[in-house]
Symmetry: C2
């Protein structure tokens, strides 16, 4: 999916919502465990209940990998079930030397047909570029993440006056552009969002950390939006685990609609 198409979907639905498919056998409604493929059955229900209110899905690859080949199959079926007009993000945090990053790119862009993948920047240019070479596919590079550990290295001061995350966000714009590169910027740093937006004015930000991790939706939009919004705001646990009984699908539907309504007022 290209940038124009993504923006068009966002305005059509008046939504910035990305639903994180952190689907975990220990947390899904217990009655699904009796089905042949509980993870897929759960994802199917989540997709049915949220697809009118969200513009992106973000399967967290760790949760599928942890089940071995069976988890991989659940992921394949999930990808096939997601409607074509919804943007898909492999939350994989990959990044390795060139020939290896190329393999990861093939896995997620070709085998699974994701639109985007999250990538870790530590290994630099040749770990990121192989992902940028695919047409109409996206790298979502870690900029300033939502977790406590973001203080350990990302916020370190460099001797050129930048913090490391600022350097990452600036340098990566020499490798990609606003049509194939986005940044992960955690909702847990609302005071920094405005400054980061100035660093990358026309780029999309994928914003995790609203909800379970404590970030505030309104301050993310107020400080982080650009003229075509430029935000995908992720919610995982708060939506997908809204219910655990037979009516879990209705509860998920209500939560997703609630989230979209909060976003709609900014359109």
């Amino acid at each position: 999916m290209n940038k124009t198409q993504l923006i068009s979907e966002i305005y059509k639905k008046k939504s910035l919502l990305c639903v994180g498919l952190d689907s975990d056998l220990e947390k899904i409604p217990p009655h699904l465990l009796k089905t042949d493929d509980p993870l897929f059955e759960f994802n199917k229900a989540v997709i049915d209940a949220t697809k009118d209110f969200c513009v992106a899905y973000k399967p967290n690859i760790a949760f599928y990998e942890s089940l071995g080949p069976k988890g991989w199959e659940s992921l394949e079926k999930t990808m096939a079930y997601i409607p074509d007009n919804i943007f898909t993000i492999a939350d994989a945090k990959r990044g390795d030397i060139g020939n290896t990053s190329k393999m990861y790119a093939k896995t997620f862009f070709e085998y699974f047909n994701f639109d985007a993948i999250t990538v870790a920047p530590y290994m630099g240019i040749d770990s990121v570029e192989p992902f940028l070479e695919f047409e109409n596919k996206w790298v979502i590079l870690l900029g300033l993440t939502s977790n406590v550990g973001s203080a350990d290295f990302q916020k370190l001061n460099l001797n050129n006056g930048n913090k490391l995350y600022q350097e990452v966000i600036s340098t990566a714009q020499k490798w990609g552009n606003a049509d194939n590169l986005m940044f992960v910027i955690g909702a847990t740093h609302p005071e920094l969002l405005r400054e980061i937006r100035a660093l990358a004015s026309n780029y999309f930000f994928l914003v995790p950390g609203v909800g379970a991790q404590g970030g505030d939706l309104d301050s993310v939009i107020i400080n982080g939006a650009n003229e075509s919004m430029g935000l995908l705001i992720n919610s995982s646990r708060e939506i997908i685990y809204a219910g655990s009984d037979m009516d879990f699908k209705e509860k998920i539907n209500v939560k997703a609609k609630e989230a979209q309504l909060k976003m709609a007022k900014y359109f």
Copy 2:
């Protein structure tokens, strides 16, 4: 495998050799493509041909992932085939928020039973600690990698006088210790190995970049060894793709023996 056992294997075999299983359907001997599981048949042959000369195997996870569920199965069979006295490293470069890193740890330490996993440091403490909580398992944290892109961020100067990779290597020693933490230090920086060894004197280093990437074996050992060696030196393509005909196994055997002999003179 714990540190004492690993050191014991190293001295028994007079070898620091880690064989990288970057097994690629496009590069393995073509006659294997007719078998049911070419990747596993290839790995089996590589293991048979190298197990007397190496102390570790490092499957590059990207190469298995790229084949979907079938690649996952080849990896499972490969892990079952590796002898118990050989250290196993999942070269996965993972790292994410706590609950997700925990899932990755379960995948590689429990499901696949690897001894170690490579981890990217960018997301800080809570992305690394979940891996450190497993007994007799190891995190191999990216310090200074072997690729060109290591100059982009890893070598940046911080305003405290350290370079980023030095800060990573120092900080991580507050999270783990020499019994559950190693560092990736590329062979392509021989001039820095002595300085990095001083920063982490009793830690193991996993050293990629000898061979295809241009690093020199002797200078790695001379500058990087500590009193119990403290090095695992990886070679992937140079060994596993030594031959492509029916005699590929013999050619791999010769290459692995050659590598071990070069190392033996330092014992």
